[in-house]
Subunit: 220 residues, 2 copies
DNA sequence: TGCAGGAAACAGACCGTTCGGTATCCTACT
DNA sequence: AGTAGGATACCGAACGGTCTGTTTCCTGCA
């Protein structure tokens, strides 16, 4: 735990919200689990504090309201997921296409986790008023970060239309996440990966290195 | 249920549960609207009977419980959607590929509707216990019917692997629905259609050359 | 070293509201 | 006369949220 006496605030800042031993960390992780597993509306405050092992007072002192807690959960979970996802693509090096090819194997291992409950952002939108922009805006912000990274890689790869390719891959990602949530079959990631292969596979890049066929220059 | 008396009841019998004039039809359509728009858990009985213009008694006499009402809504809405979707593909004739190509334009017009709230089955799974099979099983049954039809068309088209192609298209469909729900931008259907083109486009059919007719005999 | 003080968290009773669901009575048509 | 449906009061449970009081542990100071 703390390495020094007088640096209390420094330690608190360092551990921030992730410390599993702090009430805040426990509440955040219990809420994340229950919201994702059972849905936000179906999860009561009492269930959260029970799983976190805290008192109701603590929750309301730290977060103020259930709504605030929901937003805190989405923010922290979104950040963690993006870091994991982008890390899974980047880790291991290789060229841009190699990184993009790691998308679906990475998703597959996620789908196989015991606590895989689909995308929290999609699920949050699904169970709230679809005419309200509240959750949709949060979800879009999340997806945009992911999309940007994919688009950057698509550009480096030499795709004829990086933006379009990135959007297509994003659709496959969303589709795979949803299908995996419903079917509980991680193999949907393989299907998505196969489809992705057709997208940035033959005749989809600007400079095919003049290999097997000149005809491939007629992209798109 | 008798068709004895004049037109009114005959019409009621013909429209069965869809008759906007019967209490059952009004309840079903109000529940469908509210469940899809605001989520199932977030929709109270009172809101439903208010929109349907019926009494609470009537709802419980006709459906027994909220749970039963939810199932009735999913069943009727699922059936209606599948009929619309398959109809949109089939209507207009042409070969199998022409029919498959109509998928995303059809979805686009759906996405553009004022009352488009995403897929009720996906949304239902999203807001309930993901370890329970209840809603997931219902959603899978729905998706399987759609998938089968697409797979049949993929076979008629002469795809090298109709089952795989159908699953890939299904992922694009789910992805497009979810993305459209979040972004409210029907144009995601165009992106999905573009991706689909890469899937059953070049070099994805068994016998690309030897024409257009013989290969199709290898159906299913 | 020992103790006062205070923050942080625990425990849980409690409040007003809303929930899903039931019961009672009433109306309007065939 | 019979039946489908409307109106409404009501029930117990659960909800989000507040409140009072207690425990624990760290810190400052003598």
């Amino acid at each position: 735990m703390g390495k020094s006496v007088s640096k209390k605030q420094a330690v608190a800042a360092a551990l921030s919200a992730n410390d599993e031993e702090s009430a805040r960390g426990r509440l955040l992780s219990a809420a994340t689990h229950l919201f994702c597993k059972n849905g936000i509306n179906a999860t009561g405050i009492d269930a959260i504090i029970h799983e976190a092992g805290t008192a109701k007072t603590t929750l309301y002192k730290l977060f103020g309201s259930k709504t605030n807690l929901v937003h805190a959960v989405l923010e922290s979970e979104g950040k963690a997921w993006r870091e994991w996802f982008i890390g899974a693509m980047e880790q291991g090096g290789g060229d841009a296409q190699a990184k993009l090819t790691r998308i679906f194997p990475a998703l597959k291992s996620w789908f196989g986790e015991e606590r895989f409950y689909g995308c929290p952002f999609i699920n949050a939108v699904a169970e709230h008023d679809k005419d309200a922009k509240q959750f949709r805006a949060i979800a879009l912000r999340h997806k945009k970060v992911v999309l940007s990274h994919i688009e950057k890689l698509a550009g480096e790869m030499g795709a004829a239309d990086p933006e379009s390719l990135a959007h297509q891959l994003a659709l496959l990602i969303d589709g795979a996440i949803v299908a995996a949530m419903v079917s509980r079959d991680p193999a949907v990631a393989d299907t998505a990966g196969l489809a992705a292969g057709s997208l940035f596979g033959p005749s989809k890049v600007k400079k095919p290195k003049r290999t097997a066929g000149a005809a491939q220059l007629v992209a798109v």
